[in-house]
Amino acid sequence: MAIGEKIATRESYGMALSELGEKYDIVVMDADLSKSTKTDTFKKKFPERFINTGIAEGNMINVAAGLASTGKIVFASSFAMFAAGRAFEQIRNGVAYPHLNVKIGATHAGISVGEDGATHQCLEDIGIMRTIPGMVIINPADHYEAMAAVEAAVKYDGPVYLRFGRLAVPQIFDETNYKFELGKGVVLEEGKDATIIATGLMVPYALEARELLKKDGIDAEVINIHTIKPIDSELIEKTARKTGAIVTAEEHNVNGGLGSAVAEVLCETYPVPMMRVGTQDVFGKSGKPADLFKEYGLTAENIAENVKKAISLKK
């Protein structure tokens, strides 16, 4: 796929599953959303290993746990709202407490769901999942990263929460030199005045913000955090020591998500001024994704503004 070409990470999820199904004994589950989560790609190829639970997410998660207890690698798929939201307690008690090999494929995360509105725009899932001991959380930014994340989840023995989007997003990484390492952040651009730490579909906006800031003579570092838990605290501390100001950018409530995770690291290692770009503790609403991004401040311009604020707070 060419750089800039657009595809939704939920498509990548379906493609990755059907590729990995050849090599691994994986079972894919869905709760009547396979056409939307794209697990129907796997279903067409491996119908005998695709299990539909109907609209019953709680049951799906514990069935997945039962399957995993017998040695299966299970992907349980739904919208983020109904996976992390509705089935939180099943994930907590049924999967994470016994540390079973269940991967939660949560699509339609964030405000980019668009027209369906607030009930379907999950802006809390990272926060919810982050409180569960032993849960790994991956929020990929583009197609190749999403494909790599699914494979990393297969190879990891234990629960993983994978966050995918509905909206087609541009390819930003070059397949030939892209390497995914679970738990490792990636410095995309070096800088010295401030650092933008972004995740998921905010990564291209972070890169764009860097270009905007250049015009004002500000040299911003850009880091991609695909694994939100365990977070790369070493890299976060290192960049804080280097640039002395941090801005996080995520398609999630600033409470509980990447912004919180980064703030926790900084407080305990090397506190520097910090701003958090994301939804500001509010629900979403219906609208076109691009319009929603503008309304909720998920833009390169807003990231750039926040970088300036963070720099002005430096002592």
């Binding site: 019953a56 069935v63 746990a65 399957l67 207890s69 017998t70 307690e89 008690n93 016994p98």
Partner: protein, 277 residues
């Protein structure tokens, strides 16, 4: 000996009550009501190996009503999964014997449970795995009659019938009582039989303390007919300890020293009587 299995059930009751007494907390009522079913499963029906608790194609058991762990621990100890003395350390900070079943640390526990309504779903997953791999292991689970008020139980009931999980054999421990009182008054789950029939299950109703009925029901359920089986076991909450029987107040309370002595005396007397027969 004619009553071997039943004697194990009564010894398991003693382990359960002792653990609860030592911990000064736990759930005696429901533990006592399921002890006989557990004894028949673990001593007569299930393909398991206490020396190899993770044996690949073993039969599985999920205690969906996880709060009755003391009875399960008692039976597992009797069966040789761990020393019976371990039951005395129930709920203690330096013991592996968690208040609810923990599959990570306790030998013989096939699924961590405790949050009601989830165990039956996990049992469905295990049964489905056997179907996918064309293996013939069976999966057993016990639910509470209060537990089936949880909506997820019915999601699982639909699922088990839809996927024709005839290797799944479930029990409802129908002792008629939940924490807040009589289930018929708190939130009636009756008629239980008609509900599961409507969900396309085989349904068998038995006396939970009649060994021949327990055995016959399991044997019938083991004959595959494309449907999961629900055995509605009419039980006595607190069975075996006179003052606990049919008392909702003994759902989640530990006996005091004097009450504990009396319970052990009664259970010992029953064991002696069964040994004599």
């Amino acid at each position: 000996m004619k009553n071997t299995t039943k004697i194990h059930a009564y010894k398991a009751r003693k382990h359960a009550i002792t653990g609860i007494f030592n911990a000064a907390s736990g759930h005696p009522g429901g533990s006592l009501s399921i002890a006989d079913i557990l004894a028949v499963l673990y001593f007569e029906k299930m393909n398991i190996d206490p020396k190899n608790p993770k044996m690949a194609d073993r039969d599985r058991f999920v205690l969906s009503k996880g709060h009755c762990a003391p009875a399960l621990y008692g039976i597992l100890a009797e069966r040789g999964f761990f020393p019976t003395e371990q039951c005395e350390t129930l709920r203690k900070i330096d013991s592996i014997m968690q208040g609810h079943p923990d599959m990570k640390n306790i030998p013989g526990i096939d699924m961590s449970t405790g949050s009601l309504g989830q165990g039956i779903s996990a049992a469905c997953g295990m049964a489905l795995s056997a179907k996918l791999d064309k293996k013939d292991f069976k999966v057993y689970t016990i639910l509470g009659d209060g537990e089936i008020e949880e909506g997820q139980v019915w999601e699982a009931a639909m699922f088990a019938a839809h996927y024709k999980l005839d290797n799944l054999i479930a029990f409802v421990d129908n002792n008629g009582l939940q924490i807040d009182g009589d289930i018929a008054e708190v939130m009636s789950s009756y008629p239980i039989d008609k509900k599961f029939e409507a969900f396309n299950w085989n349904v068998i109703t038995i006396d939970a303390h009649d060994y021949d009925q327990i055995r016959a029901a399991i044997d019938k359920a083991l004959v595959p007919n494309g449907k999961p089986t629900m055995i509605i076991a009419k039980s006595i909450k607190g069975k075996g300890v006179s003052y606990m029987e049919n008392q909702a107040s003994w759902h989640g309370n530990a006996p005091k020293a004097e009450q504990y002595e009396q319970a052990i005396k009664e259970l010992d007397a029953k064991i002696a009587e069964l040994t004599q027969e």
